[in-house]
Symmetry: C2
DNA sequence: GATATTTAGTCCACAACATAGACTAAATCG
DNA sequence: CGATTTAGTCTATGTTGTGGACTAAATATC
């Protein structure tokens, strides 16, 4: 609980500080690192030496920063050795990616499968095969994969690695970490959460400030990123935007309530007759009035729900992802209108509304990125793992 | 930004760990501290010695923990030297309190004044007089006051110490820290936020887990406490529960929107003809149907807004404070009904609904408590201040 | 073109802090 | 009364960062 600082953790902390600085502020010389971290040049040199030895950083050319003086050697994160595996189980596909320490996507593979038709055990077996193939390919690239996270479309218990209920998959109480055995640390997380992190590291990124990322699918989830980390709430179920009440007397929702956002702006509300979002986009492009009206309705409801979310969570930016990304041109107007009307008078600035820049792979990439984030936040633990093969 | 660990900050960090442990887990022997912190007995002894010398801890009797062996000396937080000042400006009163390091309330004074009638400058002058008197009394008790926080009824900019708009006071862009000059560090914060912290430290406390504290007044604010700290959002305006949309087509609100919770459950909605909450309680006790119906309506609306808040913020517990504390017996039913209906099916556990245990002084006490919290989180800084009179 | 100046990075003696284990102190058990 | 157990202190030691002297490599100045 209370974490005391000792000599070894002091060192680990300083390694993390240096690596974090390299991660956030690009290539830096040792002198610049000493300045920004407040450590002495001597200390920085030693720490950088360790990081280079561990394959987590490399020197990359010289830089003349000022006008005069000896040029410095730029040091940057190196992705040539350390990597992470991101996995995703979704309704109609499996996906896996390998991302290296510099957050470069090295491998990405998607497999279209109808996972509703298969049993959870079969799905997990298939994911295991995909993961094993990816690990082999990663080894071929000389990468050492430090860990993996599985993205799941439903509320998860991260401590047990299980999904309580994933209605879209038809799963109940399935433990993924128990069934999936891979030769590395494995965790699970919610797809909407990881999509938000995917946007942070592989999309518009830090320019968004603190943002709320909306994942529209059949359900509607959201992930709030504050200071580069997810806000999860007490039990990890924060960000359930789909069941925000838009109209207390509205239609019944599968959650037991009435008038939830999902009933107005979920995929089933936009496509009551079924079908693909791509078809809806085609009808919208053709200017079909019924399609435009449906988006108008969904956008207004989404605007009301997001107004509420802004009042409670206070983000800088709102990112629309999932099905709302292709529909952005048609829903953004009503959403912005609702937010301006309801927030404009009280707040100096209404949060900006932008479209997600990562596509369907957001959650898969976010999963791998989260593993990388953990390594950067505590390189000492990983260093031990690599150098000490006990 | 990136905070490196050096020898001095290692020491400061360990002082904070020991003091934090004493704060959370009551009186402890040096041996017990060594066990829980992971530090050696030698180190703990040195740290405890420093804390005792600084007047932040004291030895208090011996304890026989096990069956055999030498009994240990219990060490606990001491409030005899270090204290903090909490201040509050509200619509119809000023308040000040002095709380010591062990979070004992040593002084508390309230002054009934109609602050809407006076100019901001006059109000602040009067608060300054109250604060100066409190500081003199604290000095008389041998207390050294380390800092102060002013609670204000409106959104504040904590970096400049100013309120942008406090509609209930009729204030616009008033900087309190600039106008109020006291011989100690002074900060400002929002009343609803500080009331939540007041509940944490002077009310039901840590038994609540992560909780959302609702401050019902003319407006309705809320403060979310996660892991013993306030969730503030990107700009510090999180928790604006009063403007959560309960019915998109509802009555217009002063915020520019329509159907905000405030219009259904704020003080003006419960008492459309004006008057005091105490009178409403009397009518409720008498069983007056109109009064009961008003609470029913307010409770249902509050239940809808809280359902939404739970979906987005995921707290363990919801605490009703402000005007909802005396009205609790009449509003809690409808609130719980709404939450059970709308959340019961999706969640294993619907958050518990409890009444606030701190009264009107919650924000004032929370203000002082927040200063104490800062000292406990970084005793090193305070130690320097005391021992080094530069 | 030689020298001064500036900046980067390394080296070495030193200081700060925590550690490990021996030691003393004070209780209960047999 | 001695053996055992637990609390707390003392001393030598180890790890880590510091500060300043030093070397290295560039530009500026004359």
């Amino acid at each position: 609980m209370a974490q005391a600082v000792r000599h070894d953790s002091m060192r680990a902390g300083n390694l993390a500080v240096v690596l974090g600085e390299l991660d956030r502020h690009g290539p830096l010389t040792r002198a610049a690192l000493a300045e920004t971290t407040g450590l002495t040049k001597t200390t920085v040199s030693k720490l950088v030496g360790d990081l280079i030895e561990a394959g987590m950083a490399v020197e990359s050319g010289t830089v003349r920063d000022g006008e005069r003086g000896r040029p410095g050697v730029a040091v940057r994160l190196s992705g040539h050795r350390v990597a992470a595996l991101g996995l995703e189980i979704n309704v109609d596909y499996l996906a896996a990616c390998v991302v290296d320490l510099s957050r470069t996507v090295r491998l990405l593979r998607t497999q279209a499968v109808d996972n509703r038709a298969a049993s959870p055990a079969d799905v997990i077996t298939r994911l295991g095969e995909l993961a094993t193939a990816m690990l082999a390919d990663a080894a071929g690239l000389g990468l050492s994969v430090a860990g993996a996270i599985v993205a799941l479309p439903g509320p998860v218990d991260r401590s047990t690695g299980s999904v309580h209920r994933a209605p879209n998959l038809g799963w109940r109480d399935v433990s993924v970490t128990e069934s999936l055995s891979l030769p590395l640390p494995l965790l699970v997380d919610n797809e909407a959460n990881l999509a938000a992190l995917g946007e942070l590291w592989f999309g518009s990124g830090a320019s968004l400030g603190d943002f709320l990322h909306v994942s529209g699918e059949i359900g509607i989830g959201a992930g709030l990123v504050v200071d580069g980390a997810l806000f999860r709430g007490a039990h990890g179920f924060a960000g359930e935007l789909g069941h925000v009440v838009v109209a207390p007397d509205g239609p019944a929702c599968r959650c037991g309530g009435t008038g939830c956002l999902e009933r107005y702006a979920g995929q089933d509300a936009l496509l009551p007759a079924g079908g693909e979002i791509a078809e809806l986009v085609a009808r919208l492009r053709a200017g079909e009035p019924a399609a435009t009206a449906a988006c108008e309705r969904a956008g207004s409801a989404l605007g009301v729900a997001l107004t509420t979310a802004v009042n409670l969570l206070d983000p800088d930016t709102i990112v629309l992802g999932g099905i709302f990304a292709p529909l952005f041109p048609w829903v953004s107007g009503p959403v912005e209108k609702a937010m301006r009307e309801r927030l404009g008078q009280m707040r100096a600035r209404v949060p900006a509304l932008v479209v997600s820049r990562v596509g369907a792979d957001g959650a898969t990439l976010g999963a791998a990125g989260q593993v990388i984030q953990r390594i950067i936040a505590d390189p000492g633990a990983f260093l031990l793992e690599v150098t000490d093969p006990s």
